[in-house]
């Protein structure tokens, strides 16, 4: 579904991605792990169209989307849930969700999806009329994910969904991702919480200073000594 081939991206003189290739097939959950500054978010931003690769190509459903404007990419079906969530703080939960369906005009479908989101995140249903600003961090993350679902994305990209959340909430977010996997959604997940990400991913890529250094099935990477040493804090049992 998504194919990133040999993509280079730089910020001025700094080369953030040095020839990254990656693939996401329909119905897969693919994790992208790596340390701070490895280039994970840069890669997502490049796929979203916020950054333009200096070399290489990105194809979505066999069509190149290199250099396509961000809003067009969203309409093609790639939606990114940003790190820091980007909730519209002065709009209600319901309005936030409606905004997610901005590109759609099928009212019945929108209502159906709204019910689906409320069903998935009951807490949002309780907060329906509250302003985004009054939600807790975890609720904001759920709202951001719910809002992305409202656009019926073909590919959902989650940028550090567990960032800054309490452990219980982190578990809940990952349970949601497991649900998505069962529903057959296609997800590209960027995480620092490598253990949890690898556990729920079909496949994973390890990014290190702008290069993909390892790739394989999530479970296999979880066992790999290199990954354990670098990202899982030594020989913890998997």
């Amino acid at each position: 579904m998504l194919r990133v081939s040999d993509v280079h991206v730089g910020y001025g003189a700094i080369r953030a991605l040095k020839g990254v290739s990656l693939e996401v097939n329909a119905g897969e959950v693919v994790a992208l792990i790596g340390a701070n500054g490895a280039g994970k978010s840069t890669l997502l931003r490049t796929i979203s169209g916020l950054l333009r690769p200096t070399a290489g190509d990105i194809a979505f459903e066999e069509r190149s989307i290199r250099g396509v404007a961000e809003d067009k990419i969203v309409r093609l079906g790639i939606l990114q849930v940003q790190e820091g969530r980007g909730i519209l703080t002065r709009m209600t939960v319901q309005e936030n969700l409606e905004m997610g369906a901005y590109g759609r005009s099928d009212k019945a479908g929108i209502r159906q999806d709204m019910a689906m989101v409320f069903d998935k995140f009951p807490v949002l249903s309780q907060r329906r009329k509250q302003f985004g600003a009054t939600l807790s961090g975890g609720e904001q993350q759920m709202l951001a994910i719910g809002r992305a679902l409202m656009a019926r994305p073909k590919l959902l990209m989650l940028d550090e969904p567990s960032l800054g959340l309490a452990p219980l909430l982190v578990n809940e977010i990952f349970r949601t991702i497991e649900d998505f996997k069962r529903e057959g959604r296609t997800i590209l997940l960027v995480e620092q919480n490598a253990r949890k990400a690898l556990r729920c991913a079909d496949r994973a890529y390890v990014l290190e200073t702008g290069n993909i250094v390892l790739t394989g099935a999530g479970a296999a990477l979880l066992q790999s000594e290199e990954v354990q040493a670098a990202y899982l804090g030594g020989r913890a049992e998997a």
Partner: protein
């Protein structure tokens, strides 16, 4: 229905409301534009030339006074779509100045002497029909898809873009919409004032319109309507103060702004009404 005097006062208020609402089109996407007066000048001069020299029917002249500013608004709006805050204010201010200087030197429209003898074609109902249409437009906008996208852009451009809104194009459209309204407002103004001159469309008027918006509440368009209506009617009320009326006028604005710096009708009031309604239902 009304005597001449009342009719004049009401027409003036209506035109001020139209001009203020024209500011709320770009404001709906978070852009503060001072260029409205420039578009007003273009609409006024164009409509006047059409009715006075070319004997075009008033309706068609107004249509032209809408379309030319719309086109110019699209062009200029495209140029300034990426500007924000102070730079945007300066760019739009400069646009107004350029238009003013143009009409100061443009002989076919009477340069510094202005145009005299314009037919009084603007009737009270014209003005208020447009006000009513604008109210309807703003009410419907809030619930429409494009209106929600505008609210989103005003709120957070980055999020709007990430949810698939073409932010630059929306800003351009909003700006052109405001230009269109201001152009028609100018056409109506010219055929009500019966005399126009480049200096009618300068910083004074721009400041007045901005004051209406800020006084009434810059966040919601109803606030602008209230501000325009109240402050345009105030001088009539204050005539009893004779020579002191301007001082009293200024004092009232100062006191009100001191009490409600966010404008008379601001979002906090709106939220309060909303929660009150929720509690009562």
């Amino acid at each position: 229905m009304f005597d001449r005097y009342t009719e004049t006062v009401l027409t003036n208020i209506g035109i001020n409301i139209i001009m203020t609402l024209s500011v709320y089109c770009p404001l709906a996407v978070g852009q503060l534009s001072i260029a409205q007066v420039g578009f007003m000048a273009i609409g006024a001069h164009l409509a006047t030339v059409l009715t006075l020299y070319l004997h075009v029917p008033f309706g068609l002249a107004l249509l032209a006074a809408a379309l030319l500013p719309w086109g110019l608004g699209l062009f200029f709006g495209h140029m300034i779509a990426r500007l924000q805050g102070l730079t945007l204010a300066f760019a739009t201010f400069a646009f107004m100045e350029v238009v003013q200087v143009f009409f100061l030197n443009f002989t076919p429209t009477g340069d510094a002497r202005g145009i005299k003898g314009i037919q009084p074609l603007t009737e009270l109902w014209h003005v208020w029909a447009l006000v009513a249409a604008l109210i309807l437009f703003f009410c419907r906008l809030r619930r429409s898809r494009i209106g929600r996208a505008m609210a989103m852009v005003k709120h957070d451009e980055v999020v709007a873009q990430a949810l698939g809104v073409n932010v630059q194009r929306l800003k351009m459209l909003a700006f052109a919409m405001g230009a269109l309204v201001a152009g028609v407002g100018g056409g109506l103004y010219a055929h009500y004032a019966m005399y126009i001159q480049y200096s009618d469309f300068g910083a004074d008027r721009a400041l007045a319109i901005l004051t209406y918006a800020v006084f009434g509440g810059i966040d919601i368009w109803c606030g602008g309507m209230l501000g325009a209506a109240a402050l345009s009617y105030l001088p009539v009320l204050l005539q009893v103060f004779d020579h002191w009326r301007l001082e009293v006028h200024g004092a009232i604005i100062l006191i009100v702004m001191g009490l409600r710096p966010q404008g008379v009708l601001a979002l906090d009031l709106y939220d309060m009404l909303q929660s009150l309604r929720q509690r009562c239902w």
